[in-house]
Each structure stands twice: as C-alpha cells, then as structure tokens.
C-alpha cells in the first residue's frame, strides 16, 4: 500500500467542504476498469497464496496486463480532463 500523502486528510476535508463533484462518466470508466481488473488480480494472487502454489504463467501475464490497463486508463482519463487539454 502506498503511504498516504501527508496532506491527504486535509484534501478529503476540502473536497467535502467544497462539495467537489466528479463527472459520473469519470466514475463509470474508473470503476469499470479498476474494480474488474483488480478483482481478477486479487483472485489470481489469492489462489496462489492459499494453495501455496506458484502463479501460472498465463495468469501472471493476465495480472500484468490488467495492472497495465489500470495505469493506461488513469493516464487517458487525466489527459482527457486536465485543463491544458480541455483548452485545445
């Protein structure tokens, strides 16, 4: 787990206070990819963990692809929603 940012609690407070709303399409994309991809990665790793068996190569490949997909989706979303890009 990544260490929480030192300002994280303040960020949450501000987001709540300022009533910051995220466009529902952004949640739709994020949740679709992250929840499905992480579900599979978790299944693969936990199967290996509880069975005390190495992760099969095909499953390893699948997990790596899913993790890369999450990174890709976040980059794409960021690119589509940052002010610099919206201006062009």
């Amino acid at each position: 787990m990544a260490r929480p940012l030192p300002q994280e609690p303040v960020f949450y407070e501000h987001l709540k206070k300022e009533k910051v709303k995220v466009d529902s399409r952004i949640w739709e994309i994020l949740e679709h990819h992250i929840r499905n991809d992480l579900f599979l990665v978790e299944m693969i790793l936990e199967t290996s963990f509880y069975d005390s068996a190495p992760v099969k190569k095909k499953d390893m490949k699948m997990a790596i692809e899913r993790i890369k997909n999450i990174v890709r989706v976040i980059s794409r979303l960021k690119k589509a929603t940052t002010r610099e890009n919206l201006a062009t």
Partner: protein
C-alpha cells in the same frame, strides 16, 4: 460440495468468467459460463443450474444482468441468483433485490470471502434439495 450442484457464471469478461468458474469447479461443482446474456438464458433453459452468478453491467452482451435475472425469475423462483458486480449504488442494489436476487456481491471481493459466500449458498441449496426429496 455436492457433485450434482450446477452453477452458471455470466460475466462479459471471459477471464473473470473462467476464473470464477474455476473456483466453483475446484470445490466440486459443475460450472457453465458465458459472456453473453442471451446465451446464458439458453444455458439456463438447458441445464437449470442450482446457482446463477450474474454480472450486471455487460455492455457487449445482448442482455444485461438485470434483464437476465428478470427473465430467469419469470420462469423460476427456486434457483439461487447471486449478483457479482462492480456496481455498488443503492438504486442498482435495490433493483436487483426487487427482481429477485438472493445475494449481492460487489467486486473486487477476496477469494476467501467469495468462497465463503458460495459455501453458504451451497449449504442452503443442499439443505433445500434434501428437504424436497
């Protein structure tokens, strides 16, 4: 798990379908899976699974999970329907329960938790089958 218990897994992601099916088959169940809602209905008509594990949001499927659930419930109120979805909003949960979902699980879920839920369902199904004999 009773060897005779049949499961159907419906998720538009083939990898997820196969993985959940594998978890079920490891426990001794007979698994069927499909990525398409209409095909799921055909499997359901043919195999009459004891437990149906259904995803809701299937944008590439001819039927989404809630439509499939409704169609199954039109014909059968006995089989267990488990929703396994990434959708966690109250409205969707309410709709699924109204349509007759017995359990609602939100992705991601850990393997042990998933197994626990499936074991509980299986015990109930087994118990009901024994009672009915």
């Amino acid at each position: 798990m009773e060897k005779s218990l049949k499961f159907m897994v419906v998720d538009d992601e083939a990898d997820i379908c196969e993985y959940v099916k594998e978890v079920i088959e490891k426990k001794g169940g007979i698994g069927f899976s499909t990525t398409d809602g209409r095909e799921a209905l055909e499997i359901w008509e043919r195999e009459r699974p004891d437990v149906n594990v259904i995803d809701i949001h299937m944008p590439y499927s001819s039927l989404d999970g809630l439509e499939l659930l409704a169609k199954i419930r039109e014909k059968d109120s006995d089989s267990v329907c488990v929703i396994l979805t990434r959708m966690d909003d109250e409205e969707t949960i309410r709709r699924a329960k109204t349509l007759g979902a017995n359990h609602y699980i939100t992705k991601p879920i850990g393997l042990r938790e998933l197994e626990e839920v499936l074991d509980n369902i299986l015990n109930i199904v087994k118990h009901n089958k024994t009672e009915g004999e």
